[in-house]
């Protein structure tokens, strides 16, 4: 449980840092690296990557939106056919990032298994 929560938090933190220096897909590298470093079952790795970025993007988008009084998110939500719902846009935003990070974390988890268990698995 501790590893699980730790993974989520570290994924979120590392993803945030990657966002300062890398393009948006830096979250995939961050999630991959975290699950490769912290051993967990693949399903848990997926979930921690998914949730880490979901939470990060959710909080960031919500924070930005709040400071902006929802001016832009409503307009974008109309352009995307979401009937002006900022909330829906924030959720979709988070899901997109979470999906990428989840699969990247899964890959990290399987990658770790290859590296650390490959010799003994025969």
């Amino acid at each position: 449980m501790f590893k699980y929560i730790l993974s989520i938090l570290v994924t979120a933190l590392l993803s945030f840092v990657s966002g300062l220096y890398l393009p948006w897909w830096g979250i995939a590298i961050a999630a991959f690296a975290v699950s490769a470093a912290i051993p967990q079952k693949p399903a848990y790795s997926f979930l921690s990557g998914f949730l880490g970025v979901f939470l990060l993007w959710e909080v960031l988008a919500w924070w930005i939106d709040n400071k902006n009084n929802g001016i832009l998110s409503q307009k974008i939500a109309y352009i995307f056919g979401l009937d002006g719902s900022s909330l829906l846009l924030i959720i979709i935003t988070s899901l997109i990032g979470a999906l990428v990070a989840g699969f990247a974390a899964l890959a990290g988890s399987y990658g770790r298994r290859i590296v650390f268990h490959a010799p003994s698995s025969k």
Binding site: W24, N69, I71, Q74, I76, I79, V100, A107
Partner: protein, 845 residues
Amino acid sequence: MKFIPFLISVAITVLLVIAFNSPWGKIPPIGKFLSPQHGFWQNAEPVDKDFGQDLQLPGLREPAEVYLDERLVPHIFAGNDADAFYLQGYLHAKFRLWQMEFQTYAAAGRISELIGPRALNFDREKRRLGMGYAAEKAVVALEQDSVSKAEADAYTAGVNAYITNLKESELPVEYKLLNYKPELWSNLKTALFLKFMSLDLAGAEDDFEYTNLRSLLGYTTFNKMFPVKQDSLDPIVPFDTLSAKPGLLASHSGKTPHEAKDGWTIYPNMSVRGDSIWGSRLIPKPPPGSDSAYLHSTDTVSVKATKPDRDNGSNNWAISGKRTKSGAPILCNDPHLGLHLPSLWYEMQLSCPSFNAYGASFPGAPGIIIGFNDSCAFGFTNAMRDVRDYYEIQFKDDSKKEYWYNGEWKPAEFRYEHILQKGEPEYVDTVAYTVFGPVMYDKSYSGNRLTNNKYYAVRWKAHDAGNELMIFNALDHARNYSDYLAAIKWLHTPGQNVAFASKQGEIAICDQGEFPAKWKRQGDFVMPGTDSSYAWQGMIPQDENPIMVNPERGYVSSANQYPVDPGVYPYYLGGSYPNYRGMMINRYLNQMKDIGIEDMMKLQTDTYNLFAEMARPVLLRNIDSSDLNATERKYYDLLREWDLHYEAEGKGPSIFKEVWDSLTSIVWDDDLEKDNMPGFYPHESTLLEGILRDSAYEFLDDVRTPEKETLKQDVNLAFKKAAGACRQLDSEGKLVWGKMKATRIEHLANLDPFSRLNIMDSGGTYAINSVKEDHGPSWRMIVQLTASTEAYGIYPGGQSGNPGSPYYDNFVDNWANGKYYLLWMMTKDEETDKRVKAIIRITAL
């Protein structure tokens, strides 16, 4: 086999990243776009954002400060001219980058690069008209003059200083939506922007429509439907019928009058009723045989679609201190243009040792365009002249390599227009150039206008090299009337009525531009291009442009009406000239006494419909009120009781419009339909003046029926039809004028959520406050030139071009309600004023 799940999960991740990093049709790359640290969320600026910062910029010569006030208007204090223009470029880019680049893409015919082949026809039109060709010539002219070169170079450097340091997350949201990046700015882009304005203001013509009508109706009938003069004429420079006393027209050249006749004072270089006193000057003459070969020609050109906006217009006036409460002159201007977001205008103050100017600037060009400095104020309305004509070219064959001109085959030149298209290979448009200009229409391109296969070259004044940037530089520096005179000479195209007032008490207006000297009807129709006989014979000498200085009546004004009585001016003016706004302005200004700023606000936002004042009595007189049912009676009463103002909440303006539109189609449709030209109606003033003059106006008859229809029959039919339409609108709640007009300010890329739609506001076509559906007063400005200038203004937009900023459209509601902001000409020692919200301090890198 532990590799398999690994590879699968890696593959899924990579595919997701690629999928979310790529655009799908109109959907932007979704991952990139939604990322809170990169995408559109970064454009959602905090409503209390602090714009203050310390900057180091390369190329700046001296330290400078920019003070942003509570409306986000920047007040630039620079150490020299170049730094001022550099910082203006930097701020234009900081707040309006996407717009300024998009407009130059549009001007250059490059929209297909952004949105693909659906913009191809739009782009080809710009290319074939020679927009790029014209801009390239303008850059050469601009760079030949050391002052304009230095100004444009500094501006370009400022824009690029911003673009170069722009992070991906800071890109304006439109770049993220359309998934592209800005290019570096250049002087060519500035020139393209100015050509974009020329296209809007000096690009109108109805040559093909007129040609067909003339051929199908015959010149005599055409001439009645499209006369070159209006009965109710109140020209900008009153020469004749409406001016009361000699001496009204002062010569701009300072020469004394040398001849007086019938109580009129005649000045050098002016002629009255054909008594030419022009000396050896150019007087354009029609070519021999043009009467039958041109005016009465029956060649048709098969028009398919038309889209003229004849009401593209504006108001400006300047009032002498003799007529004002303060004793100081007042200058007012409200240019009416297509309304968009982000706005065409960006408000700012430019201050440096050589000048201190405040007003509206164009993101895309340096200088203050409409505004004031410490000595004077200046404003513009469009001159409306026709400076775009067509010539039919005879090519030897389809290769377009040679064309017949002055008795020989002359080689054409070619310009290859490479149009890049998003998602498609590039399109190469080959355009032949003749002595007249580019062959805009040919077998490959009809622009929805022509279905025959003839070749038409376009002669457009905007193709001639000019250095228009200099008029703004010179006006920003101007101190008095003679500076103004020198400044306006730089303006060749688009022709403008330039109003001026100074603290020395001078007021003036000049119908300025370099206009072709035309003979009557020259260029109204497509002209033969096989020799030089129909070519423009020269330009009207600059000092023969109509001008009025310090008139006795105490004001000068313009509202796109005829600059002078076309009966007395020796050159044919062409174009079309709405007259009612101008008459209204002059009516009010003649009556007003002790004029103050509040009077000017009322005048600029006045909604009185003079056209309806003249037309309604004819309608009411002819409607048989005993023959109306209850519904018709209701609308009849509303029409009769209407106070003639375009009030947003009223139904009168809508009912009048319905009735008049219905009458228009009843009167003209039969004449135009038989020629397959429905909808291209004569000017409203033509019908109104026709029925005012003569109740048996010849066009009232429906030529499709054996009966001879009368005015009474037409008006009653029109009213009953209109009443039916009104009932329908009423039931939908749309008969209220503000709902019917439904003013909208659209985003430049037509994105509705970035637009302001359905604005309930008063005003309309014939009112001084000429707000229409998507067109209207784009910048209202009032400047009182007291010792300490007092100025007010507003435009329908906001200082930020970012749809995610509270400053994006925060002026719109106040604009719609006719309110104004105080225009603060800040001084350096007001740094601690509470209106200063942020300070940007800039030093050289």
